[in-house]
């Protein structure tokens, strides 16, 4: 009964691993059976600790870290691929821009091209006021004036917006502009050609097409061949 009193304290002392306290120590010194129980408990906890140590400190397999590194590579690869795609896309955009800029005619060449128009205009000709074809009396002069105005607008469009807004701007592809400049050159050389091109073509009166009324002759209905014989034959059969 006395030993039962010390049982819990004995187990707790063994569990904590600490030396027994005063009263318990005195009892253990007197009681051989409690000393034996205390020894058992200490052995049990030592065995538990040994088992726990073995369970908790397993040797790490050599294959684990290489496997993890390989998986990390797999995880990281799509990100790098995405960056590469972005780099490729940016490079493509830059290349497209470079090609576009190279394909455009040079600005100086454009200006030179625009200058060609006014040079060919005879000095005696009055300056053009309007581009409207319908109002012009001397068409050749007016046509020659178009590139002059355009060249001004081209120059002025970058420098003064007010000047640009006073003259209507039309975006013309470079090849068309070149063709137009050539046409103006030709027209300046041959004013008669311009006059002939812009001369009013006499309009034809668009009368309604006269349609002669249909003349249908009287239709003569003739009996089909063999009809008479069939009817007579059928009548004969009836009878």
């Amino acid at each position: 009964m006395l030993c039962e009193h010390y049982k819990d304290a004995l187990i707790e002392a063994a569990a904590s691993g600490a030396a027994p306290s005063g009263e318990l120590r005195e009892h253990l010194a007197e009681c051989a059976s409690c000393r034996a129980v205390f020894g058992q408990e200490q052995s049990l906890f030592a065995a538990i600790d040994t088992g726990l140590h073995a369970a908790a400190n397993a040797k790490i397999p050599l294959s684990l870290l290489p496997r993890v590194r390989a998986r990390l590579e797999e995880v990281a690869t799509p990100r790098l691929g995405w960056v590469q795609q972005l780099v490729f896309a940016c490079t493509g955009v830059v290349l497209a821009l470079v090609i576009f800029l190279m394909a455009r005619p040079h600005r100086a060449a454009r200006e030179e091209l625009a200058k060609q128009g006014p040079v060919t205009v005879p000095a005696s000709m009055p300056p053009a006021k309007s581009v409207n074809r319908e109002e012009t009396s001397s068409e050749g002069t007016q046509i020659a004036a178009i590139p002059v105005n355009r060249s001004h607008t081209l120059r002025d469009s970058t420098s003064s917006p007010s000047a640009a807004s006073s003259n209507p701007e039309v975006l013309v592809p470079p090849d068309e502009r070149e063709a137009f400049a050539r046409l103006v050159g030709v027209l300046n050389e041959r004013s008669d050609l311009g006059a002939s091109l812009l001369a009013k073509v006499p309009e034809k009166e668009d009368g309604l097409a006269a349609v002669d009324p249909l003349q249908i002759p009287d239709i003569e209905i003739k009996p089909l061949e063999g009809t008479e014989t069939e009817t007579s034959h059928g009548a004969g059969e009836k009878h």
Partner: protein, 197 residues
Amino acid sequence: MQELVLNQPVSTARSELVREAAQADARREFEERLAECGQLAFRVARAVLRNTADAEDVAQEALLRAYQSFERLRDRSRFNGWLVRISFRLALDRLRSAKRRDRREALWSQPAHLPPPATVEDVAASKQFQGHLERALEELPEKLRLVLLLSAMEGHTIDEIASMVGVPLGTVKSRIFIARKKLAEKLRCYANTIRTR
């Protein structure tokens, strides 16, 4: 307008590059920790699962998950505790699914072999006692088990365990004490064999 269109991808690409650089730094740091934290993850998983191959799979999974969230972890000093919890949780999930599978298979196959009788004198060191211990460990509540396993692992002080688990130092001590007592209660019936030593 044209400038805006061109500037937007450039700034996006720059921020992407910054992000990529941060990821590269995080990865470098993670790989530096890999040897240490790989061991930790494996040991936690192994202690729960008692199977090296399964523990290796779980440790790998835990490390990958940890890596994927590593960049977002602001306080890197808490990484070990975080990894321990991931590994422990994954190992428990795997153990439960393995138990369910074993139960299913046992229903169909009805295994006939019984555990061998206790004949070894030094039972504490024997595989049999180890088996009893690990089964008893499995029956412990999770919070006690994790703390007890961490305390049994080499290289972790009680302070470190407290910071890993995120509980006060006194709580860790009391959990270890309670866990050992519970284990002793379960294993006391094998004390006779220990006494023969």
